[in-house]
Amino acid sequence: MDQVIQLAIPSRLELLPVLDRLVQGIAEQMDFSEDEADAIAISVIEAGTNAIQHGHKKDASKTVEFRFNLNPDHLQVVVRDTGPGFDVDAVLSSDPTRPEDLMKSSGRGIFIMRQMMDRVDFAIRPREGTFVYLRKSKDVNGRGVAPA
């Protein structure tokens, strides 16, 4: 309980760099490597982008919530919007790196999160909203960036 940082921002894409700064600060505080910090930051930004764009349709009066659980061996981030959710299975079964999808201008956010983090889970809860759970462990093969 004494290791939780919470952030709430209006649904404006312009605020993503602010989120980037905060996440980098938290990752640094937890002694993640620079590569790991980048991996975490981009994943949180992707989740935040989805919450703003898809969850809230950029309605700035709606708030996106971020909850950072700082544990000794891992960081867990929960990103919440109050939108209607989406068909998670359909998205997870698509692969934006297939040659025929490579030129699509969207559809890479969740893929990037899953490459960059150790775990990515979703929960769509009626009346509560859409929750994305991102988890990154420390040291354990410190893979901040997937091999080329």
Partner: protein
């Protein structure tokens, strides 16, 4: 996200600075790319040297530029790609699509040699 543009020998050189993450000024980059291509400038060089960050929305902008240039028989190339952005291009396999040059000389030569 800030940017400046130069034109040299039919090539548009766009120098980007900051975070290419969608929203606001990043959309101006998309508009500039598409309208320049529409007006006939289909050889484009993006200087990514001062870009600290690209997210999936930013990648979408790069892809839009790439496709539009190709449709006009031209091409869009990248140069000065830092390691952070390189890793995103690798993870998403977009590294197999974008031509990336290490130096400005090489990049210019390759574009000016082309007949687009």
């Amino acid at each position: 996200m800030r940017f400046s543009q130069e034109r040299e020998g039919g090539v548009l050189i766009l120098r980007l600075e900051g975070q290419l993450m969608g929203g606001g000024e990043a959309e101006e980059v998309r508009d500039l790319l598409l309208s320049s291509i529409d007006q006939g400038t289909s050889r484009i060089l993006l200087d990514m040297g001062e870009v600290s960050w690209v997210n999936s929305s930013g990648l979408g902008i790069l892809i839009a530029g790439h496709l539009a240039a190709r449709q006009r028989g031209g091409t869009m190339k990248l140069m000065n790609v830092g390691s952070r952005i390189d890793s995103i291009l690798n993870v998403t396999r977009l590294s197999t699509i974008f031509e990336v040059y290490e130096t400005e000389e090489e990049a210019r030569r390759s574009l000016q040699g082309s007949n687009a």
